[in-house]
Every structure is written in structure tokens, then in C-alpha cells.
């Protein structure tokens, strides 16, 4: 039986996922893969554009703005690292560029989340190769 990790899972990306995370970590901003030919955004990044099949792409910065597409509120976990955060909220964000990403959100009442709420995805560096996505609800954003 393998040992249970005591810290949260840290991504260990390969190939294009590694390129994406390194772009995010090095710039300190949210980025997405964008086709160099037709301009369509893709997530996770792909070798060839699903729209025009071009192999040219880059990872430009984006604002991170989007809407809640789906979510789950976890009341149980097998992971010790998440025990203290129960119940925790995980959100699928549809970014304004089109693709969707999964991130974690901390709000006072996780059950109050609704599809369609406006949010921002904020990346936080964990390693040189991985950033953690936090979802911030626009109504909770303070200056």
C-alpha cells in the first residue's frame, strides 16, 4: 500500500502542460494556449489546433475572467491535506476566451455558489513547473 501524501497534490506536468505552467509561473499571470493561425484558445494545450489543425501556438496572458460553469462542494475526503478545509468548493470556470479550467474557491458559504456567477482565476506559483488556480468571486473582490 502506498503512503498517503500529507500535503496537497502538486501537478507534475509533461510536454505541453509543462509549457503552459512555465508560461504562467514565469510571468505571474494566467495564460492560455492560443493558435497562431486561427486564434482559437485551447485548454489543456494540444499539439494541433482542434479548429484549423495548425501546429503553431503560443501562451499569451489572459485576464482570468470568466463565469461559473459547474462546481462541486466536497463534504468528505480521503486526503488528510483537505480534511481541515471541509466542506470545500471546487469550481469549473468558463473563461471569457472559451476554454474551461478547474480551480479552488474559498467563500463563506460554499452552498451559495451558482452557475453563471462572474469570477476570476488567479494563479499562484507552487513550483517552477506548477501553479495552483484560485477562483475569486467578483462580488467578493475588494480593492
Amino acid at each position: 500500500m502506498s503512503e498517503r501524501p500529507v500535503s496537497k497534490v502538486i501537478g507534475k506536468p509533461d510536454d505541453l502542460n509543462l509549457e503552459l505552467f512555465q508560461a504562467i509561473v514565469s510571468g505571474g499571470h494566467m495564460c492560455l494556449q492560443r493558435c497562431g493561425n486561427c486564434g482559437r484558445y485551447s485548454h489543456p494545450p494540444r499539439m494541433y489546433c482542434g479548429n484549423c489543425f495548425s501546429g503553431d501556438y503560443s501562451y499569451p496572458e489572459i485576464s482570468g475572467a470568466g463565469t461559473v460553469y459547474s462546481y462541486t462542494v466536497s463534504h468528505h475526503t480521503a486526503e488528510p491535506a483537505w480534511q481541515d478545509e471541509l466542506p470545500y468548493l471546487t469550481v469549473v470556470v468558463e473563461l471569457d476566451e472559451g476554454p474551461r479550467v478547474v480551480g479552488a474557491a474559498t467563500i463563506p458559504d460554499p452552498a451559495a455558489v451558482r452557475i453563471g456567477q462572474r469570477v476570476h482565476v488567479v494563479p499562484e506559483k507552487r513550483t517552477d513547473d506548477f501553479a495552483y488556480f484560485t477562483v475569486v468571486f467578483d462580488e467578493d473582490r475588494t480593492s
Binding site: G11, K12, N17, S70, Y71, T72, T90, V101, V102
Partner: protein, 400 residues
């Protein structure tokens, strides 16, 4: 029913049959290795077909725990002509039937073994002193899970699937009682099955509704039971099957289907469209029948809400309509579409859905005991796996 259609794939329809079935006990606390379980169920299926390992020349094990070569070597199968392994998680066993039917109807192999087994309970909770399980399951989508889901506390299937099931519930106001109807039907049918893990453990809607939430919308009782078990079936030509001991169970049609992208869940144009939505119409066309012709359904029930979506994928209800479909005992024995008459993954045990194929075979042989659907002539089995891959097999009672 058996008349040919213009669809090219109909060359498969009615050409092969399930001739043998085998299964171990369904337990929580196995003393046997996965290989031992799988070999035992395989030998039972070969004997049930009235054959010996010398008659088997194809092996199609689903992925993960045992490979075709060790199965063949240990069983003494010496003349292997065809092997394949579908990479679709829990959709693999039912997809393997399609591959077996293709191989046999094309003359590539004569009799094909489809086995699966695992220590789904004991591998993660070994008895004191038990040999550790070295068997590991890998799939390409784990790259997605490791980098984009698991960092957020989503490490296994209930958490991944909740990412689209919560949207299903919110968009269509699906009440928990609809999922509860699936859990209750499976548990009710398990009371008739000596081989069911949940025999003698009846369940009420009050029990279901007080079951704790795991991750929304899934409660504990929306999840199937982790099980140690193995099952196997033998597929052969319809002509050969007629000379074997049991009434043939005819393979009328089947298909697999995949959402795109298959290795990632949340970026699909419609996250509520399963592989089965694409596979089911193709299988019905091949078989020349419709969902309304079915006498029973064996639906892959890893989670209750996934069963609701599959009723819609089969065309038995419109989008969001499964909650109404399951009302009033429709899916119970005695209802119009008795579902998971063995108890399913929810209440018999989790054997990757090949136990659904075993139960469908018993029903169509007329050997389903107290759970027998009166006059059952047509039934279907579905598979669901990985991040929503789907498979389906449509089976018929053959002539003896």
C-alpha cells in the same frame, strides 16, 4: 428482428453468441490474488460453455490488472490467434464483446474469452499479513487528473464526475429521489440474489436521503460498492453455440462511443453528452431493434446519476427527463424496464460491468432464478468508463 439492414456493420448482427459465463463470489476481504480470481472465473466460463482451454483462440482482457499472455499461459491456452484490450475503463468489458464478435464473425478466431477481475476492496485495505497487490491501473487521462483535477482535492471518480453531474442537477432540477430510485431498485433486486454483497440489507428512500454527501451531488449511497471479484464470458459463432450445452445468447448489435476530448472532462462542448449518446443509436441500428423493444436493461451503475444520464442516452427519456422516467417503479422488477436485475455494481458488486453481461446471459437463458424477467427475449448491457467512454451490447434469446 434478425432481418438484415443496409448498415454495413449488420454483417456482425446475429453471427455470434455468448456460450459460457463464470464468476467468483463477490466479497470484501479477498485472500486470493487478482490473477487467481480471474483464472477461476475464466475456467468456470470455459467449462460452462462445454469447452476446454484448447478450444479458446482469442483473449480480450479489459485493461489494468491482468494481461492476455499470463491468462493464456496459466490456463493452458496454446493457440492464441487474436488478442486486444479496449482502453475504456469500465466501458471496456462491454466493448470487448464487440471486439470478440468482430473477431469471430470475420473468421479470425473461433472462441474468445473475455475476463476481468480485481481486488477492488482489498487492494487498498489488505488483510494483516496479506501479500500486497502489485497490480496497477493506468490510463492516459491520469495526466489530466494529476495536473488539473487532483491538486484541488479531486483525486478519484466521484470527484471527477461530480464536475458534470452537479451541472446536470442544477440545469434540470434533478431531485435526489430520482437518483435514489436507482439505488433502491438495485438494492431491491439484490435481495433476490444469493451472490449479492448487499443481500439482506434492504434500503428505504429515508435511508437514502439521510446518506451523507460525499461531494455534491453524490451521496455515499449514490456510489457503487468496492468489491473483490472476477467474471468471464466466452463468445463463439452462433453455429457452434447451438451445439454447446446452454441456449445461445445472441449478439445482435453493439458499439462504443467517446466524448471528445476523451482524456479531459470539462472542455467538451456539452459535458452532459456521454460516449453512450453516440454509441446507442449505432447499436440499435445494427441490431434492428429499438430501446422500446427491450425486456430488461443492465446499466453500468458506478454512480446513480450516471445511470440517469444513460437512460437519456438510450433515448428512453429526453434531456433531463430521466427523473420522470424512473418514477413509479419503471426500473423495478415487474416494471416496464427492469434494470440491474442482479443488483448491479451498486448492490451485487463492482466487476467492471461484466457481471451485467453475466446477468443478461442468465436472463436470456431463463436461468435468473427469483429475478427472472418473465418471457425475456431481448435485453441490453451498457458500459461506462474513464471520463465518460461508453459501450453497449444488445443481446437476444437464441434458439436451442
Amino acid at each position: 428482428m434478425m432481418t438484415s439492414s443496409s448498415h454495413p456493420a449488420s454483417a456482425l448482427s446475429g453471427r455470434t453468441a455468448i456460450a459460457g459465463i463464470g464468476e467468483t463470489d463477490y466479497t470484501r476481504g479477498s485472500d486470493r490474488s487478482v490473477l487467481q480470481l480471474v483464472l477461476g472465473a475464466s475456467m468456470d466460463a470455459i467449462r460452462d460453455a462445454g469447452l476446454t482451454p484448447d478450444d479458446i483462440d482469442g483473449v480480450i482482457p479489459p485493461p489494468g490488472f491482468v494481461a492476455w499472455d499470463e491468462i493464456a499461459a496459466h490456463l493452458g491456452i496454446k493457440n492464441v490467434r487474436y488478442t486486444a484490450t479496449p482502453q475504456m475503463g469500465g466501458a471496456s468489458p462491454t466493448a470487448a464483446l464487440l471486439s470478440a464478435a468482430m473477431a469471430v464473425s470475420a473468421g479470425i478466431a473461433t472462441s474468445v474469452l473475455v475476463p476481468i477481475g480485481w481486488n477492488g476492496f482489498s487492494a487498498i485495505r489488505p488483510k494483516p499479513g496479506a501479500r500486497p497487490s502489485k497490480r496497477r491501473f493506468t490510463a492516459a487521462f491520469f495526466e489530466t487528473v494529476r495536473n488539473f483535477y487532483a491538486p484541488y482535492g479531486l483525486r478519484s471518480a466521484p470527484w471527477w464526475y461530480s464536475l458534470y453531474l452537479q451541472r446536470y442537477v442544477d440545469l434540470y432540477d434533478v431531485p435526489p429521489e430520482a437518483a435514489g430510485a436507482v439505488a433502491l431498485a438495485c438494492r431491491k433486486h439484490a435481495q433476490l440474489n444469493d451472490r449479492a454483497l448487499m443481500r439482506d440489507k434492504p434500503l428505504t428512500m429515508e435511508d437514502y436521503l439521510s446518506s451523507p454527501l460525499i461531494t455534491g451531488p453524490l451521496r455515499k449511497l449514490d456510489c457503487c460498492v468496492e468489491t473483490d471479484c472476477a467474471t468471464a464470458v466466452v463468445v463463439t459463432s452462433i453455429e457452434r453455440a447451438r451445439d454447446l450445452p446452454h441456449r445461445p445468447v445472441v449478439y445482435l448489435g453493439g458499439a462504443e462511443g467517446h466524448s471528445s476530448p476523451a482524456d479531459e472532462l470539462v472542455n467538451r462542448p456539452d459535458v452532459l453528452r456521454l460516449g453512450l449518446h453516440d454509441a446507442a443509436p449505432r447499436a440499435f441500428e445494427m441490431a434492428g431493434v429499438t430501446a422500446a423493444d427491450m425486456d430488461f436493461l443492465q446499466i453500468y451503475d458506478c454512480f446513480t446519476y450516471v445511470v440517469l444520464l444513460q437512460f437519456e442516452a438510450l433515448g428512453l427519456a429526453g434531456p433531463g427527463g430521466a427523473a420522470d422516467f424512473v418514477k413509479g417503479g419503471t426500473i423495478d422488477l415487474g416494471g416496464r424496464y427492469p434494470t440491474n436485475t442482479h443488483g448491479g455494481l451498486m448492490s451485487q458488486g463492482h466487476c467492471w460491468g461484466l457481471n451485467h453481461v453475466v446477468e443478461a446471459t442468465r436472463q436470456l437463458r431463463g436461468d435468473a432464478g427469483a429475478a427472472q424477467v418473465e418471457g425475456a427475449e431481448l435485453g441490453l448491457v451498457t458500459g461506462y468508463g474513464d471520463l465518460g467512454d461508453g459501450s453497449i451490447a444488445i443481446l437476444a434469446r437464441g434458439d436451442k
